[in-house]
Amino acid sequence: MNHTKGNNPDDKQLIDRILRGDTRAFGTIVKNTERLVTQILYKMIPVSEDRKDLAQDIYMKVFRSLPGFKFQSKISTWIAQITYNTCLSWIEKKKLYFPGNLQEEDDRSPVSHEAVYNMPRNSVETERILFQKEVSVILKKEIESLPPVYQTLIILFHNESMSYDELSQITGLPEGTIKSSLFRARKTLKENLLSKYQKEAL
């Protein structure tokens, strides 16, 4: 097994420095992974006050667990995994409703894009034009309306360019479930956006 899987030598040096007592090196790790942690926190935790406490809690956990880090994944993936699990614990503790069943289901139904097949050609064109306009603003709201896990997967895959394997490591879900969840999340986004545009066009 490659014990420095995905980690660049700088990460290893940084961790060595932290383990020797140089806490400033930990600041570099925080800066390098802050964006990723923030993305997950914003998608999983709806209460803004709690995000600050959780962010601090996550990095303290990372600092304490650093001597046990075996370099079997990228340091960023490992920190993202800690973040995701901390968020799940928070959701469980707060007993929040957690929609989004991640069970496998048949995604291969050809009926799913029947609506598009039946659309007149110019309707598809109109949608495309509309899609390019105010879509960013509406898309943000639509992403926020998805279940937290779907939001997290969408943002990590598309914005943070993470692979299915990395997403599987972070969430602890099988790759097949990740793919199905991503498919359903994208499909829901597409359908919600299309219905929104059609309503607005009326």
């Binding site: 930990f26 942690v37 914003y42 995000r51 050809p110 894009h113 495309r128 899609f131 960013s136």
Partner: protein
Amino acid sequence: MNNSHPSEKEIQQWAADPSGSSPVMNSHMQSCAQCKAEAEIYRLLFSKIKQQPAEEFDFDLSEMVLSQLPKAKTRLSVDNLIAGFLLVFTCCCIAIPVWLFRQNILNMFSDIPPFFIYTIIGSTSIIFLVKIGSLYKKFQNQMRLLNYN
């Protein structure tokens, strides 16, 4: 409905990464306007998701985290210096008189008859063995109390 069309999942995958699809899929996507249109919608969706601005905290996270970390112990802290000085001072207080009066200390023991030396060694050994025996007894009593069976 044309059943030869690929599923929506396949279209999504093709829109995300055409190079990962089969040649049959690629040629269908090139020739079928409906599937191509749907793939185009997904591509736009993906590009718009990518353009979404990343969320940011309105405070310096790294500064906040670093302020919470335990301070690194420097090798030459004041506490360490004082402890080191006290250790050296204590050693000197013992070693210097022993060195200066070493002959007198040796003479002190050389004049003692062997009988007294054997008595001292014997009684010390007996006390030591009695202490060990009582400690072992105490240990066995405690183990018996813990043995719930």
